[in-house]
């Protein structure tokens, strides 16, 4: 009992030690000096209550656990549901249904909602791309935002200096990002998993610092603005067409509607997402896709079976980077402005959180997670303040309780019927 009491005291002591200095005392700048102000009394009461709660919990943990076990079982989700939801076939239908809804929906929604949906699509693409690298090939890439930045700046700079349009730049952006992925991946992929994570992180930061400081090319911290929107076979969606071009509404004899532009961009984004999904699904069935997953499970066994790990990793890395490049190009078109601030590490972390929460390797999971992650903070302003706090803790909690993600995908398999 005394050991338990000591543990309880110790744990209870930790709570105010951790919470009080940061939560209870606030540094406030008054004039040019700093002063300390106590937080609201409520905060102090909460800390005290938590301390007491921790003490009681640690003291009675075993007894509480026993009581919990003997209590009548709560209604559980039947095991079959989980099995049903994670089956590849179910998920494929889920994705199809989502795609249909996504296709029809914008024509009935408001302009702001469609614009937000475009952003969600961009994140879906980023999530799917990173899913190849992290979820399928098992390489933790913390510099994914670097490739996103390469894509965005490729479009912005080609448009700014050479006047190239969206459709020309889209493949170039993908190719540039792929090139960067290849160049980085080639030396780096020999490293073990956690080193790889840190190196890619450093790479992402280097790209951002370069973008910020090469002012004569990239516009420095202000970035590049006035990026053109995509056109439909040369028809612009502006109210008035520039010299030598025609507008969409004039060509089809419609009244001008500003939301056409937004819906068009959304449809492009949706098309790209579907293309991404299709490509990945095909690749997964090819030997290369199988090799990614095999490599994730056991690298040494793969090597023993004659697979070349560096080559396989490189293909996953480059492909993931390509999709980030497409997404970056789309982002530049939607925003009309790129600046280094959009490509900070926290973006990489958000994309990683999407993949982790959705379920590594599961495409439906990643799509749903991207929708939730981007939509929730927009819906509730109060939530957006706590957004990253919640994401951070969710990442920890998910790793502890459900490292496979909320909606993982089963590997395709056959069960023998008895």
């Amino acid at each position: 009992m005394s050991a338990r009491l000591r543990l309880a005291f110790f744990s209870a002591l930790l709570v105010p030690l951790v919470a009080f200095p940061i939560l209870g005392l606030k540094l406030v700048t008054v004039g040019i000096n700093l002063e300390i102000q106590g937080a609201a009394p409520l905060t102090w009461w909460i800390i005290a209550a938590c301390t007491l709660g921790m003490f009681v919990w640690q003291l009675l943990r075993r007894r509480l656990a026993a009581g919990w076990a003997s209590s009548p079982n709560l209604p559980r989700i039947p095991a079959g549901t989980g099995n049903f939801l994670t089956r590849p076939k179910t998920q494929r239908w889920g994705i199809l249904a989502l795609a249909l809804v996504a296709l029809v929906w914008p024509f009935f929604a408001s302009r702001g909602a469609v614009d937000l949906a475009t952003l969600i699509m961009i994140y879906v693409m980023l999530g799917l791309g990173l899913n190849i690298v992290v979820g399928l090939a098992g390489l933790l890439d913390l510099g994914y935002v670097g490739f996103y930045a390469v894509g965005a700046y490729t479009y912005a700079m080609l448009g700014e200096y050479y006047g190239l349009g969206f459709w020309t730049c889209l493949p170039i952006a993908g190719a540039m990002a792929a090139l960067f992925g290849f160049l980085l991946g080639f030396p780096v992929l020999r490293l073990r998993g956690d080193y790889l994570a840190i190196v890619t992180l450093g790479f992402g930061e280097i790209i951002r610092i370069l973008l910020r400081n090469l002012t004569e090319f990239t516009g420095g911290p202000n970035g590049i603005s006035g990026i053109e929107k995509p056109t439909l076979f040369g028809l612009t969606f502006d109210r008035r067409a520039p010299e030598g071009m025609q507008t969409f509404h004039e060509f089809f004899g419609l009244a001008y509607n500003a939301s056409n532009k937004v819906i068009f961009l959304y449809l492009i984004a949706l098309g790209l997402v579907l293309l991404t999904l299709f490509t990945i699904n095909r690749l997964l069935r090819m030997p290369i896709g199988r090799a990614w997953e095999a490599l994730r499970e056991d690298e040494i066994a793969c090597r023993a079976l004659g697979l070349n790990p560096t080559l396989i990793k490189l293909s996953a890395f480059t492909l993931g980077a390509t999709f980030a490049g497409f997404a970056g190009c789309l982002f530049a078109a939607r925003q009309g402005l790129v600046s280094p601030n959009s490509f900070e590490f926290i973006e990489s972390a958000i994309i990683l959180a999407i993949v982790v929460l959705g379920g590594m390797g599961s495409q439906l999971g990643v799509i749903l997670a991207a929708i939730v992650m981007i939509l929730l903070p927009e819906l509730t302003r109060e939530f957006s303040e706590y957004r990253m706090l919640i994401f951070g803790s969710l990442m920890v909690l998910m790793m502890i309780w459900r490292p496979q993600g909320l909606l993982p995908m089963q590997r395709p398999h056959l069960e023998l019927k008895r």
């Binding site: 030396p187 080193y195 840190i198 190196v199 450093g202 400081n213």
Partner: protein, 307 residues
């Protein structure tokens, strides 16, 4: 003559920064040496430490206890105690349940922890920067004049001496004490140490506490020198310190010390050569180069992968 002065000036500046990197790097290297994970949240523990140090310094000055020794001791003690509690709690909450899982899982958990801590401090203390005046102003000049000589500020001397004492203390602790021997045994072979009756969970907690405490020392020193903190200083400091740890050979304590100093010097000269805005690029490039060409670092042992 002035080139020589310039050289030594950069060297001294680099060594000062480097010694604080070394302090933070020890947290990475000790944890890695024992459980083989990168404690990504370590930089944010450092950040929490600097907030506590600022709170202690401002609080003590408000109470009228603004004599320098009291301020420094108060900041050090408060910061060390609180960050140790953080180090222990983080390990207990975010890493211990994941002890035997795939390598990437604790790393993702650590990234989540880092994001959490950063936003927690941002919400509690505000996202703006907080500044205090340098409590140890003044400097002396070696050479003819400030323009043509080497300037050494008093705070740099304090940083050197405190870092030296902390390192000395750590080295003695690891090499002489009973717990230090247990730490070394765990770094050698965790499972075997456990079989021989060492409470490995306690030792792992201890390494987190030691790492956090040294990060707190660094936080107090850097906080006093630069006098400005924001909730996101932990990210860069963490990466730099990790680079230092890798440079010296991750898992090796003398390696972390050496790596920190080398990184500080490389950064000082790199910033001199390429301009201040590329200082961080120097560190990141160094990290990538070391990992590519000598992943075991200067003093580390090459790691053999066992099936």
């Amino acid at each position: 003559m002035s080139e020589i002065y310039h050289f030594f000036q950069q060297l001294i500046n680099g060594l000062t920064v480097g010694s604080t990197y070394a302090l933070i790097a020890i947290g990475y290297t000790m944890v890695y040496g024992i459980i083989g994970m990168i404690n990504f949240a370590h930089g944010d523990v450092y950040m929490v430490g600097s907030y506590v140090a600022f709170i202690a310094i401002v609080g003590l000055s408000m109470l009228g206890l603004d004599a320098l020794p009291i301020l420094m001791a108060g900041a050090l003690i408060a910061s060390i105690v609180v960050t140790s509690a953080y180090g222990y709690s983080i390990e207990r909450i975010a890493y211990r349940p994941l002890r035997n899982s795939n390598r990437l899982i604790p790393l993702i958990s650590a990234i989540g922890m880092s994001i959490f801590l950063q936003n927690y401090v941002m919400l509690a203390q505000g996202s703006g920067s907080k500044a205090i005046p340098n409590p140890i102003p003044g400097e002396f000049v070696i050479g003819d004049s400030a323009m043509n000589g080497v300037i050494v500020s008093y705070i740099q001397i304090v940083i050197f001496s405190v870092t030296f004492l902390a390192m000395l203390g750590l080295t003695l602790f690891i090499s002489r004490s009973r717990l230090g021997r247990a730490c070394r045994a765990c770094a050698e072979d965790l499972k075997m140490a456990n079989l021989l009756g060492i409470d490995t969970n306690a030792i792992i907690s201890l390494t987190f506490v030691i790492g956090a405490a040294l990060a707190a020392v660094a936080a107090v020193l850097i906080g006093m020198q630069y006098g400005v903190i924001t909730p996101n200083i932990g990210f860069l400091a963490g990466i730099k310190a990790f680079t230092a740890a890798v440079l010296g050979g991750i898992g090796s304590i003398p390696g972390a010390m050496l790596g920190g100093l080398l990184l500080g010097i490389a950064e000082a000269f790199g910033a001199d050569l390429f301009g201040d805005q590329y200082k961080d690029v120097v560190a990141f490039s160094l990290l990538i180069l070391v990992l590519l060409f000598r992943p075991s670092g200067i003093l580390g042992r090459p790691e053999v992968e066992k099936v």
